[in-house]
């Protein structure tokens, strides 16, 4: 996953402005990262600290699913798709909404507290054209796939692993279909790639209000 794909080719700069730092702390709050670790930046220790908790992992997945559900809702509301494109993308929105519900319920059942839905923002052109929408969708789906696969060995409870895997497989289907719709490669590797939590949150950060 190339981070610059999601930043319109702009390099990722960590905390070059106070507002960026605040934004990151907001994200960190969303997934429940401790403030001392936030102060230490986006290091590996930060990622592993959070990844030690199943509830933390579920809230991380929930945050990403909230982003996806919000993104597809806005994109489909913009009414820029038609025909087969629209047919293929509409169920994706429903899937992401179902993932939000399931993850929230599972967190509650396990005695945890689901994160609240964050506010999101998107670059102005995102929903102006079919290309803008679908290309961003493709990046989000590939990011989601690597995010889930990055947690496979971190989840302690085997039932949660099964639940997460059954969602991850659907994200793989979405990723492949969107790659196909945008002229990308639906099968980029014989085995899904992984991304650490810190890497994924860094890529998703610009979309948090």
């Amino acid at each position: 996953m190339e981070n610059n794909q999601i930043f319109d080719g702009q390099p990722v700069i960590e905390f070059d402005k106070e507002s960026d730092r605040r934004n990151f702390i907001k994200w960190a709050g969303v997934v429940g990262v401790g403030s001392t670790l936030v102060a230490g930046g986006l290091g590996k220790q930060w990622a592993s600290a959070q990844e030690d908790s199943d509830i933390g992992i579920l809230n991380y997945a929930l945050t990403l699913e909230y982003l996806e559900a919000d993104f597809y809702t806005r994109g489909l509301d913009a009414d820029i798709l038609s025909g087969r494109d629209q047919e293929l993308v509409s169920p994706i929105k429903a899937h992401e909404q179902a993932h939000v519900s399931t993850l929230s319920q599972t967190i509650t059942d396990l005695g945890g507290e689901p994160v609240k839905k964050p506010g999101f923002k998107y670059p102005g052109a995102t929903f102006k054209s079919k290309d803008g929408f679908l290309k961003t969708a493709s990046v989000f789906e590939e990011l989601g796939v690597t995010a889930y696969h990055g947690q496979v060995t971190k989840i302690k409870n085997p039932d949660l692993l099964a639940a997460a895997a059954s969602i991850a497989g659907v994200e793989s289907r979405h990723a492949a279909i969107l790659a196909g719709l945008t002229g990308g490669n639906p099968f980029p590797a014989p085995v899904e790639k992984t991304a650490a939590m810190a890497e994924v949150l860094k890529a998703a950060k610009p979309y948090l209000k």
């Binding site: 994706i92 059942d109 899904e192």
Partner: protein
């Protein structure tokens, strides 16, 4: 290989989880007698990958496809070959003995492009459910990571082939908001028609036609 053993987590007490039951996976309730260990799961996966690999080798050699269909199905075949190689090597590394490729009979699967794609679609969806159903028996975290990674790619294959067939998005390209697991028995029953009679399984010759 210094990762925490996944099995450690199985001692965690699990509260009644309504949401988990809502999900269609039967992972948590799989038959404990299905697999005796990691090598056993890997050999099960290897059998399915052998079947898929040979299926695409024959199908792609039949010259039924062109354009995007040809490109995609060749890429899928290459993925299955990679899975066979990776799983075989892993079994050897663990000191196990890899099963041999089964004798196969794909019947009339290669009678037309449509029949090839329809049979491929069945194989891929079966593969997705097979991996999901077997994952809970894996104890080595590195093997679990690899199996999950292969599972995701099989899901990609299933979706793309479903789309090439022009199937309905829900129920054709996608199989709902979550993937469904199948037990070993269910999977073996589904692939039995493609195992040749001399492999000791059911008579071959069946194909997904229409």
């Amino acid at each position: 290989m210094n990762r925490r053993l996944f099995i450690k987590g199985s001692a965690t007490a699990l509260p009644a989880t309504v949401a988990l039951q809502m999900m269609s996976t039967r992972f948590a309730y799989a038959q404990s007698s299905d697999f005796s260990g990691d090598v056993d799961v890997l050999n099960y996966a290897l059998t399915l990958e052998f079947l898929e690999s040979e299926f695409y080798r024959q199908g792609n050699a039949a010259g039924l496809l062109s354009g995007t269909e040809k490109t995609y199905l060749e890429a899928i075949g290459a993925d299955e070959d990679a899975h066979v190689a990776a799983i075989s090597q892993t079994i050897s590394k663990l000191g196990g003995t890899a099963v041999k490729a089964p004798a196969v009979d794909f019947g009339k699967s290669f009678g037309s492009a449509k029949s090839f794609l329809k049979t491929a679609h069945v194989f891929e969806n079966t593969g997705v459910s097979a991996y999901l159903g077997a994952a809970g028996f894996i104890t080595n975290p590195d093997i679990l990571q690899a199996a999950a990674g292969i599972f995701g790619v099989e899901a990609r294959h299933a979706a793309v082939v479903g789309n090439l067939l022009g199937l309905a998005p829900e129920g054709g390209v996608y199989q709902g908001a979550t993937e469904t697991a199948l037990t070993k028995d269910e999977v073996l029953k589904a692939v039995a028609p493609f195992l040749a009679a001399d492999s000791g399984a059911m008579a071959g010759g069946a194909a997904v036609t229409q």
